[in-house]
C-alpha cells in the first residue's frame, strides 16, 4: 500500500538505543526542578510548533487532575536573549531541533553556563554526549521527517507523561519551594 509506513522511523522500543532510560532521567530532573519552583523554557528554532506543543501540554494538561506546570514556549528571533533576560539559575530549557542550522548547541552552552538544566530532543547527526545534560536523540532519523511523522512528538509526550509520574513521588524531588499548585 502506497501510504503505509514510508519515511517513518521506529524509536525508543526495547533495545532501540535506550531512549526510555534517557527520557526517565530527563523527566526526573525536570520534575525535581519544577518541584523547586523552576520554570521550563521550550525552544525550537525552526520547529516552533514543537516548542508550543510542549509548553501547552505542561501548562494545560490534557489529562484531568494533572497539575499545571510553568512552561513557556520561546519563539523569539533571538531565544538566547529571552533566556538571558528571564530565565533563572536552576530553570530548565528544553530545546527541540536538529543541530544544523538551528543554533541549539550554542544556545545550550550559554544556558548551562548560566546554571540552567538542559534537555535536547533532536534527530540527525548526533551531537557530542555532553551537548546537553539530557540528550534525547532519534538515531538515523531524517530531521525534517522526524519533525512531522510523530517521532519528535513521541519524545516530548514521554517527557510529559514521565514527569507527572515523578510528581507522584514527592519524597524523591528536591526543591525548597514545594510543588507548584501543591
Amino acid at each position: 500500500m502506497a501510504t503505509t509506513g514510508t519515511g517513518t522511523v521506529s524509536v525508543g522500543g526495547p533495545g532501540a538505543g535506550g531512549l526510555g532510560r534517557v527520557v526517565a532521567a530527563a523527566s526526573l530532573a525536570i520534575a525535581d526542578r519544577l518541584a523547586g519552583g523552576a520554570t521550563m523554557w521550550c525552544v525550537a528554532p525552526g520547529w516552533p510548533e514543537h516548542a508550543r506543543h510542549v509548553a501547552v501540554e505542561f501548562v494545560h494538561p490534557v489529562i484531568m487532575g494533572k497539575r499545571a506546570l510553568p512552561a513557556v514556549a520561546v519563539d523569539a528571533v533571538d531565544p538566547d536573549a529571552v533566556l538571558r533576560a528571564s530565565a533563572e539559575p536552576g530553570d530548565v530549557v528544553v530545546a527541540i531541533g536538529p543541530p544544523v542550522p538551528s543554533g541549539v548547541a550554542d544556545l545550550l552552552v550559554r544556558a548551562r553556563s548560566r546554571g540552567l538544566v538542559t534537555v535536547w530532543i533532536g534527530a540527525g547527526a548526533e551531537p557530542p554526549g555532553d551537548a546537553a545534560d539530557h540528550l534525547l536523540w532519534l538515531d538515523g532519523a531524517e530531521p525534517e521527517i522526524a519533525r512531522h511523522d510523530g517521532s519528535i512528538s513521541l519524545c516530548h509526550h514521554l517527557l510529559w507523561e514521565l514527569t507527572h509520574v515523578c510528581f507522584e513521588h514527592p519524597g524523591l524531588l528536591g526543591g525548597e519551594a514545594g510543588p507548584p499548585d501543591g
Binding site: T3, T8, G20, E57, V62, W160, E161, L172
Partner: protein, 215 residues
C-alpha cells in the same frame, strides 16, 4: 549517567534508582504502543488516506489552498501539517496555512464572537470553493473544529478531519468528506499517530501531483 541526581539519603537513592528503572520501562512500553498503533492505523485507514489524498491533490493541483485548524496541542499539530504541505522536506510546496497561528486574529474573534467561531469566521474571510479544510481534534467533539468543518462544507470545500477515540461527533456529522480515525484512548498516542497519518496523506498527495505533472 547518575550525575543528574541530587544528593539523596541512601534509602531515597535506592528508591530513585527503582523509580528510574520503572520510568524507563514505561517509556519503552509507550513507545512500542505508539509504533504498534501507527502500523495498525496506517493499514486500516490506508484506503481512506488514499481517497483523501486523491481529493486533496485534485484541489491543490488546481490552485486550491489548504486551511488547517485545531485547539491546544492539536493547534500546534495543525501548524505542523501546514508547514509540511507548504515548506515540505522534498517535493512540491503547496499553498497551506494554519488558522490557529495568529494570536491577534484568535483573540479578536474569541473576544468578540466566542471561541466556537474562531476558525469558521476565518474561513468566511479566506475560503474559496476549491480549497481544502483540514481539522485536527483528538476527541472529535471540539465545537470550533466542527463549526469550521460545517462552514467549509457549506462553501464547497473538501473537508478532512484527523480524529481519535472512535471518531466522536464529527464522523457522523455529515460535513466531513474524509474522516481519518486513530482508534485509541490515549491522547498522546492519538496525536503521535495523527502526525503519521498526516505524513502519509502528504506523501500520497505529493505522489499524485508528481504523476499528474508527468502525464
Amino acid at each position: 549517567m547518575a550525575d543528574f541526581l541530587y544528593p539523596f539519603l541512601d534509602a531515597e537513592a535506592g528508591d530513585a534508582a527503582a523509580l528510574l528503572a520503572d520510568l524507563a520501562r514505561s517509556a519503552d512500553e509507550k513507545a512500542a504502543q505508539s509504533a504498534r498503533l501507527r502500523v495498525e492505523t496506517l493499514a486500516r485507514e490506508g484506503p481512506a488516506i488514499d481517497a483523501a489524498a486523491e481529493a486533496v491533490a485534485d484541489r491543490l493541483g488546481a490552485g486550491g489552498r489548504l486551511h488547517t485548524f485545531g485547539n491546544g496541542g492539536s493547534a500546534t499539530d495543525a501548524a505542523g501539517i501546514a508547514v509540511l504541505f507548504g515548506c515540505p522536506p522534498r517535493g512540491r510546496p503547496l499553498p497551506a496555512r494554519s488558522l490557529a497561528e495568529d494570536p491577534a486574529v484568535i483573540t479578536a474573534l474569541g473576544n468578540d464572537v466566542g471561541i466556537e467561531l474562531v476558525f469558521s469566521r476565518q474561513l468566511i474571510a479566506h475560503a474559496r470553493p476549491g480549497d481544502v479544510a483540514l481539522g485536527v481534534s483528538t476527541s472529535g467533539t471540539s465545537r470550533n473544529v466542527l463549526a469550521a468543518l460545517a462552514e467549509a462544507h457549506r462553501r464547497g470545500l473538501c473537508t478532512v478531519v484527523l480524529v481519535g477515540y472512535h471518531g466522536g461527533d464529527v464522523v457522523g456529522s455529515g460535513v466531513v468528506d474524509h474522516p481519518l480515525v486513530v482508534r485509541s484512548d490515549s491522547v498522546h498516542r492519538i496525536q503521535e499517530v495523527q502526525a503519521a497519518v498526516a505524513f502519509a496523506l502528504w506523501e500520497a498527495v505529493q505522489a499524485r501531483l508528481e504523476v499528474g505533472a508527468g502525464a
